[in-house]
Amino acid sequence: MRVLTSLGTLCACFAISASAFAEMTPIDLQIAARALSFMERPLSGAIRVGILYAPDNPRSVREAEALRDLLGAGVKAGKLELQPSLVGIREAAAAKVDLFFLAGFVGPAEANAAGISALKVPCVTTDIAQVEGGACLMGVRSSPKVQIMINRAAAKNSGITFATVFRVMITEI
């Protein structure tokens, strides 16, 4: 079994390191919205989405703006209508939003310092490292196959729980 575990770990590391971060696509958006419907107290209807970014990092700004443009004045995803606004990472605590999308190129220390999970607002990102680091609740990836990762500690801090049928089908760390 030790051999199997080792080999499996190698494969897992390969899979994650191959594409640890990717810009959020429309498909990722749909996946995120559908995944959030498995919260035990799910969001519904028009949702204010705060797109968190690092104002000091031009790449992060560009990605946040691209995500905002993708959402436009509001886009339907699952049962949600996502209405975006840009929120600097250091302004997260003051943001009046129902959901955070964490853009790429935000430093791990900066993201953790923002204390997103303590805000009781779900956070979604395609930057898996931010989920592994505990800064963000949920990571989604649509390619090559749909993968969803939940940080259990972040979920606990946020007071967010998910349905059992969802939890048994995703990766929890």
Partner: protein, 677 residues
């Protein structure tokens, strides 16, 4: 000794008690509790609970599974389930009349094949008194099916007795789904007229009801039949009703209810390899409650099936038989996630099954089964998952009621128990993003049917009885399998290669034993063992321009090892010679604009079929030549509401011999108009 009445009363009280326990705690096997639509949209692939009892993506199940979705069902052109299943790799369909076919998984197909567990939304729908499946009596319309999940190999650790050859779980649209309201009318050869309709209503945001109805009339094949079978063609018909409703009681607690009815009649080949005219009337009721709790998802289910079947005698020697069979099942189970890597499923089931003896009435043969099961899934890494499932079944057999004069068995001979343990273990190893390896081993137990345990009691003057035997043992099936699947991105295809080896111990032959001194003849008996080994190579994919295609090759070898004296001539049982060594399947489909064209081809190499030799219990093997059959469908969508289709089965020949001892199968051509509203 306890009196028969006392035993029966105690049995019913116990069943009721366990039933109430189950009902108080909640629901069943998660087939309708799991929101298949939402999970499929989320993960981009079908989701099933049929492999481990816990929801899983099709690509991650530790089982040899194939899922047929609603689109594939619609484009198959099939008007019934066997016609659809014949296109599936590893599925063997022996069509013995227009509306009856025996369906087997990986060989071991025989008349009244008892090795297949068939479920609709996890409720068993096979005829439990013998373990076979009269497909037309299943109260489900093709249009209400979301997906059909087919497991090849034993799954007894999840489903209990009889899931030894494979499992077919038909998942219908849940009442909470956006029901695709539809109606269809079909006319065809063999005088076929068929009507089917389905509609649903959502009641607010939390409740819904769905109703499906179907009716059909037809003649049977007109090809020549055996002298023993003349008189079995009396006109086929089927009526079915399926009502399903559900409501979210409060957040996290859901209740569902179901009621069904079916009435069907047609000729079919029975276990003596004689064709009779049979009628079926079935009813079922089911209640299910599921709750999301701090311990995970807990579900309780209670359902009751009853089936009344009558066998009408032809000019042959068969007597008039009437089967009354009632099954009550209470299930309680939970699925929970432990830590970050472990999923645990615990289950309890209590089952009562009884049938009235026939043709001599006045007694019941029954059993109660108490079952405990567990499944542990360990996600060792993102790429490696180990699943183990274990189940114990404890059966208590009994008989109550009168004993006819001269019958050498007493009710006390049925006071015995059968205890069996089943397991399934599987490793799923995702080598790369494209490659998945699976290693699987399973052990399942096939219970002797009530028919063979004494439900049939036929007087043979002056002093004999053809009887079942309460001494029969269970049949044990073990299976070892390794499979590799690879996504071929450049072809837009998926390749699957499986190799398996299995052993069956204690095969039951319905006839072949006797105890002349005790005045018993035609006794069922455990005749011996059998081994099988096979390979399945299957590839399917899609091309740009609306093309889809698939092909598979399935060599299979079976070696019987029956005890001396138990040959097909004495037991009507043989698997070694009656299983084709080679099966090839291919399909191609194209859709563009309003047009859809699909074709399916199957080749089966030559084999021997069993024919009843003298109208009694003696059999002979007759060669059946290899054959190619082709099914096809042409569809045209007139507008968003109306679709026209022409479909056919067995198109290459006007009539084709596909079995021994039954009429040749005729070409069937159907024309359908379908309305969506």
């Amino acid at each position: 000794m306890r009196s028969p009445g006392t035993i029966y009363e105690q049995t019913m009280k116990k069943t009721l008690m366990w039933t109430l326990v189950g009902a108080a705690f909640g629901s069943g096997a998660f087939a309708q509790t799991v929101d298949h639509a939402a999970l499929e949209q989320l993960f981009g692939e079908p989701v099933t609970t049929n492999a481990t009892g816990s929801p899983q993506r099709e690509s991650e199940v530790p089982a040899s599974m194939e899922i047929i979705d609603a689109e594939e069902i619609r484009r198959s052109g099939a008007r019934d389930l066997p016609a659809l299943l014949r296109h599936v790799t590893g599925i063997d369909v022996l069509q013995t009349s227009l509306d009856y076919a025996d369906v087997g998984v990986r060989g071991y197909n025989q008349a009244f094949s008892p090795r297949l567990l068939v479920l609709v939304d996890n409720r068993q729908v096979y005829a439990d008194y013998y373990g076979f499946t009269p497909w037309t009596s299943i109260p489900v319309e093709l249009a209400e099916i979301r997906q059909i999940e087919i497991v090849r190999g034993p799954s007894s650790a999840l489903f209990g007795f009889n899931a030894v050859g494979g499992v077919i779980n038909i998942i219908t649209y849940a009442p909470r789904d956006d029901i695709p309201n539809s109606a269809a009318a079909t006319i065809g050869t063999q005088g076929l007229t068929q009507l089917s309709a389905m509609t649903g209503w959502k009641i607010g945001e939390t409740a819904g009801v769905r109703i499906a109805v179907g009716r059909q009339e037809s003649d049977d094949f007109s090809t020549p039949e055996s002298a023993f079978d003349v008189g079995s063609r009396r006109g086929n018909h089927r009526e079915a009703l399926h009502i399903d409703g559900g409501v979210n009681i409060v957040d996290g607690v859901r209740a569902d209810f179901e009621g069904t009815y079916s009435d069907a009649a047609h000729p079919e080949r029975g276990p003596l390899y004689l064709t009779d005219f049979l009628t079926y009337e079935t009813h079922s009721v089911q209640a299910r409650v599921a709750a999301e709790t701090g311990l995970g998802l807990i579900e309780g289910v209670i359902y009751s099936n009853d089936i009344h079947a009558e066998v009408f005698p032809d000019v042959q020697v068969s007597p008039f038989l009437a089967f009354d069979n009632e099954v009550t099942v209470a299930q309680l189970e939970s699925v929970s996630k432990i830590g970050r890597s472990h999923t645990l499923r615990l289950s309890f089931e209590r089952r009562h099954n009884s049938m009235q003896t026939t043709p001599i009435e006045g007694a019941d043969v029954f059993y109660d089964v108490t079952s405990f099961g567990g499944m542990w899934e360990w996600k060792i890494t993102d790429a490696l998952t180990l699943t183990n499932a274990l189940r114990s079944d404890d059966l208590r057999l009994g008989r109550s009621g009168s004993v006819p004069p001269g019958y050498s068995l007493q009710n006390s001979d049925w006071d015995r128990s059968i205890a069996e343990t089943s397991f399934n273990s599987g490793v799923v190893w995702r080598l790369t993003d494209a490659d998945v390896l699976r290693f699987m081993v399973g052990r399942g137990a096939q219970l002797p049917s009530l028919f063979n345990l004494g439900g049939v009691l036929i007087p043979v003057p002056p002093s004999f009885y053809v009887s079942g035997s309460p001494a029969l043992g269970a049949t044990i099936v073990t299976n070892y399998e390794v499979s590799w699947s690879r996504a071929l991105a450049s072809l837009g295809a998926t390749l699957r290669v499986s190799a398996f080896r299995g052993k069956t111990v204690g095969i039951v032959a319905t006839v072949g034993g006797s105890n002349i001194a005790a005045g018993l003849a035609g006794l069922p008996v455990n005749v011996g063992d059998s081994r099988e080994s096979g390979i399945e190579v299957a590839i399917e994919g899609k091309f740009a321009g609306g093309w889809r295609w698939g092909a598979s090759y399935s060599p299979l070898r079976i070696d019987d090892d029956f005890r001396p004296g138990y040959t097909v001539a004495t037991t009507l049982t043989d698997f070694e010679h009656t299983t084709p060594r080679h099966t090839l399947d291919a399909n191609v489909g194209w859709a563009r604009g309003p047009w859809e064209v699909d074709a399916y081809l199957r080749y089966r190499s030559s084999f021997d079929g069993i024919e009843n030799a003298l109208g009694g219990t003696a059999g002979v093997l007759l060669p059946v030549s290899g054959y190619v059959s082709v099914d096809a469908r042409l569809g045209y969508r007139v507008n968003d509401k109306v679709t026209l289709a022409v479909a056919g089965q067995g198109l290459t020949q006007a009539e084709q011999v596909q079995t021994a001892g039954t009429p040749a199968v005729e070409r069937r051509v159907l024309a359908t108009v379908q309305f969506a509203f």
